[in-house]
């Protein structure tokens, strides 16, 4: 399969996803360009070995392509679905390594489990929340970033941005509600099958 770099972007999300499901390999490349970085991030954060992480990223897209008919857009975003596949690949990989190590070095204890901080579920949650943040209206996003990363209070945010206090509060409320909804649908649920792809293993 060869896809050139002069692909005309299909910007409309719905038709892009429909093309992906219909089996258009250009849409696969677009899915890879768009979500490959997030999948790769999950793999590299969860696995110590770079080559293993690349294998997982690759296997995720191959499985997604072969199981594309099982993706149901009404149950979550394509990113959420891909992360669900990648998460299972990561866990399978960790388990198989643990198994191998038990077989080949039964005396040695398996010493380096994935640190909690980098557990795949946690990384998935962060990726999903970051993706939703990126899609917030710009003013809402700016206000939330000031609260999250600059630790500003809402009067301080109002002073910095020049926005009325009430606007800052409603931006924070709306932005947090959106993040929360997305996180509930895809982040926290990634391990419970809400973004599952039973046919795409």
């Amino acid at each position: 399969m060869a896809v050139s770099t002069t692909v005309v972007a299909v910007t409309d999300d719905e038709s892009f996803v429909a093309l992906f499901r219909a089996g258009d390999e250009v849409a696969l490349r677009q899915a890879y360009d768009r979500y490959g970085p997030a999948i790769y991030h999950l793999a590299t954060r969860s696995l110590a070995n770079e080559a293993d992480a690349e294998d997982v990223a690759q296997a995720t897209f191959v499985a997604a392509w072969l199981g594309r008919h099982t993706y149901e857009p009404e149950r979550g975003t394509l990113l959420g679905w891909l992360l669900g596949i990648a998460r299972r690949k990561v866990i399978d990989h960790i388990r198989s390594v643990a198994r191998d190590e038990k077989v080949t070095a039964s005396v040695r204890q398996v010493t380096d489990p994935v640190p909690v901080d980098h557990a795949p579920d946690r990384v998935v949650e962060r990726l999903v929340v970051a993706d939703e943040m990126a899609q917030l209206p710009s003013e809402q996003r700016r206000v939330l970033e000031l609260a999250f990363y600059d630790d500003l209070t809402h009067p301080q945010i109002a002073a910095v941005t020049g926005l009325p206090l009430g606007t800052v509060k409603s931006h924070l409320r709306r932005a947090m509600q959106r993040l929360r909804r997305r996180w509930e649908v895809e982040g926290v649920a990634s391990g419970t099958g809400a973004t599952g792809a039973p046919g795409a293993r």
Binding site: S15, E25, H69, V129, K169
Partner: protein, 243 residues
């Protein structure tokens, strides 16, 4: 005390406000508010941790190469590229919508070309895709899913429609030169052929058609009335991909 306002819950979750005694007592007693606050707190924590997830780097090229190699031996795509079932002898059609039949006939006599359709030698391997573009649905078109065109590096055009024509009509594919839309003798266009009752069809883009001019793909509904002109009823239209 009634439930806490959503805005107050958000401020509490962000750690910016502290609950006063009445609020704290309510949250302690109210499962709904407690659950809401807990969820918002978690989201705030995850969001604050998400800094490195906001600036991602693309995987190395070899990851895509591996995907492409793995899929080269994978089953055929769900939208197979079907060759035209049979060659049909058709008169050249070179037409101008919204013109009189006489004017259209004059243009036709002036001698224009029909793009050939691919009838055989469909390669089994996927040729290299040069570009893909959605065709926009025009008001007259039925609502039947995504519609797109893609060009291959070997000069062929694949048109995918979400549906086939109703009996009594034919879907026909054209290349338009929209810069001639206001010419006195009408819009210039080539026909590529008909969809032939299929949702997918492949046409060859003849090398003597100036694709820098004829760069708009148009799908029309044609009544089966023997008139070769564009009916004027365009259903989908979009850029010729890869141009």
């Amino acid at each position: 005390m009634s439930h806490l306002e959503q805005e107050q819950l958000v401020l509490l979750a962000l750690g910016e406000a502290t609950a006063d005694d009445a609020e704290a007592a309510h949250v302690d007693a109210c499962a709904a508010c407690r659950a809401e606050l807990q969820a918002l707190r978690t989201v705030a924590t995850v969001g604050r941790e998400a800094t490195d997830a906001r600036h991602l780097t693309a995987p190395p090229d070899r990851v895509w190469d591996g995907i492409a190699a793995a899929l080269a031996s994978a089953p055929a795509p769900a939208v197979p590229l079907r060759p035209e079932p049979q060659r049909r002898a058709r008169r050249p059609r070179w037409l101008v919508p919204a013109l009189s039949a006489a004017a259209a006939a004059a243009v036709a006599v002036a001698g224009t070309i029909i793009a050939e359709r691919v009838t055989r030698d469909e390669p089994t391997a996927q040729p290299q895709v040069l570009g893909l573009a959605s065709l926009d649905r025009l008001p007259a078109a039925p609502e039947c899913g995504p519609t797109y065109a893609r060009t291959f590096i070997d000069g062929r055009l694949h048109v995918h429609l979400g549906c086939v024509a109703t009996p009594g009509e034919t879907f026909e594919v054209w290349l338009l030169d929209l810069s001639t839309a206001n010419d006195p003798d009408g819009l210039k266009m080539f026909t590529l052929g008909v969809m032939g009752g299929q949702t997918d069809q492949i046409f060859r883009l003849r090398s003597d058609i100036d694709l820098n001019r004829f760069k708009t793909v148009d799908v029309s509904a044609e009544p089966n009335d023997g008139r070769p002109a564009h009916s004027g009823k365009s259903l989908w239209r979009g850029p010729l991909p890869g141009r």
